[in-house]
């Protein structure tokens, strides 16, 4: 795909984030969509392309009153929205539609109007993982981490420092759920969830949503907000069974999606001013830094523990506070994208000065899928 031909011209989260007991999941989609429409200075009737995950496009389009000529219901977990951005950019370039709305919402905490997740007993997961006591993401997502630590010499303290550094970013963000400073000792003394991970190394569980609006870069200059261009994109999937990953020393999906996006953008790692790596759990930024090629995996733990990703550090990472401290409604990728867009617009609560290139990397399922978007504010 050609770089910088499509831009984000509207971006917004739900009016509230956190605990939202007065809205269903479907209404959270609408709340985010209406906020993004207003942000872009558009009317709903201007939207001719639509993408969402978990909820169907027909459900959300009908609720909003949108009559699309292009839809995408790709639903590969929390990075689905990265894939939607990639697919929408291709669709706009191909002339299938002009103005795409992407929505995410999840009543992850209040569970209003949310379909329960269910593993069928005759699925492969139901036959070969569920009988061994996996029960929700905390019991599955960290399964690779002990092998990763042994292979690369990563310490428990380094993995705890991920949560500490992200709390520093969250403290700068009025909308972050958790803002009080924490120490490595606090993390290592918090309640055990699934060894080796403790409560403060696991993402929050919240309600919320977000929406993006994309159009061609040529049209984007006529919109009220500073356009944020899609510079490069990548995607891949590996396996829905964490036990069947090729290796626990890296993620094949990460190693496919990330380099694709860098190559398409034509950038080197030193060009990246701002980085988001979806952090459902504390090991994901380490996998991401290694698999995206920022450094060898064995250096990732020390890199974060030494403060290189904290405010003022040389590689600002997860500057909203991340899934560990900002919010995590279940499919966090949309919030990572929102923070990249804010940074490129220059309006983030913890703004990285003069940031021109932002890389936003997402995961779906338990390393099951991945999507990477490179944004820039210069064309």
């Amino acid at each position: 795909m050609r770089r910088n031909q499509v831009a984000v011209v509207g971006a917004a989260e739900t009016t509230e984030l956190g605990v939202i007991p007065n809205m269903s999941q479907l209404q959270l989609h609408a709340d985010a969509a209406l906020n993004a429409i207003a942000d872009a200075g558009l009317k709903l009737s201007d939207i001719d392309g639509f993408a969402t995950a978990v909820e169907t496009p027909q459900q959300v389009c009908h609720y909003l009153g949108i009559k699309p000529t292009w839809v995408d219901g790709t639903s590969v977990g929390g990075c689905s929205f990265m894939l939607h951005v990639r697919h929408a950019a291709a669709a706009i370039e191909a002339g299938l539609c002009k103005t795409v709305l992407i929505t995410h919402a999840e009543s992850g905490k209040s569970m209003i109007g949310k379909q329960p997740r269910f593993t069928a007993a005759d699925s492969l997961n139901g036959q070969f993982e569920a009988p061994y006591g996996v029960y929700g993401p905390p019991s599955m997502f960290p399964i690779p981490v002990l092998r990763f630590m042994k292979t690369y010499g990563i310490t428990h303290e380094q993995l705890a420092s991920v949560a500490v550094v992200q709390r520093e970013w969250a403290a700068k963000n009025p909308r972050a759920m958790m803002k009080d400073p924490i120490t490595v000792a606090d993390v290592l003394n918090s309640r055990m969830i699934a060894y080796p991970f403790r409560l403060l190394q696991c993402c929050l569980v919240t309600d919320g949503g977000g929406a993006l609006i994309l159009t061609s870069a040529d049209r984007a200059k006529d919109f009220p907000r500073k356009p944020v261009y899609i510079m490069g994109t990548g995607e891949s999937v590996e396996t829905p069974m964490v036990s069947q990953m090729e290796t626990f020393n890296s993620s094949r999906a990460f190693k496919t999606a990330g380099p694709l996006a860098f190559k398409e953008a034509g950038i080197a790692h030193k060009d990246v001013d701002h980085l988001m790596i979806y952090d459902a759990f504390a090991h994901l930024p380490l996998f991401g830094l290694g698999d995206l090629g920022f450094m060898p995996h064995e250096e990732t733990g020390r890199f974060i523990a030494d403060g290189n990703t904290r405010p003022g550090g040389k590689l600002p990472l997860n500057t909203n506070g991340g899934g560990l401290s900002y919010m995590h409604s279940g499919m966090y990728g949309m919030y990572a994208l929102q923070e990249s867009v804010r940074q490129m617009r220059g309006i983030a609560p913890a703004q990285v000065p003069n940031a021109k290139i932002s890389v936003c990397h997402g995961v779906g399922g338990m390393f099951a899928a991945s999507g990477t978007i490179v944004f820039t504010n210069e064309r």
């Binding site: 492969l124 006591g133 002990l146 309640r191």
Partner: protein, 137 residues
Amino acid sequence: MAEPQRARPKPTPETQHFWDGTQAGELRLQRCDACAHVYFPPRPFCPSCASRKVSIFKASGKGFLYSYVINHRPAAPGFTPPYAIAVVELAEGPRMMSNIIDCPQTPEALELDMKLEVAFEKLDDKITLPVFRPAKG
């Protein structure tokens, strides 16, 4: 009220041989007749070269502890926390999720790379689960 039970697998036509095997006290894997690739979970073709000529064989039941978590909360129905959810790398190459029996469920006792051997845990008249225990000797 009955105690909540652990999740029970329901075999499909492609996996029935595996579950027949565990009932007979065998851990069965598949090997491609064309390229010799050994794979899991079961399917009637080779995921490496796409050949439909594959054979079922009895695996050695030996392997080592590749990685694990010790789950504290929330616990799955039928499990008493803390309990380890492990991934075992089999001597023949494939990995599978399992539980480790006859071993304290602690980081000290569960050493990565420790040698394991298969054991069988009967859930009911239809399903027997393969689990693993520390290898003797």
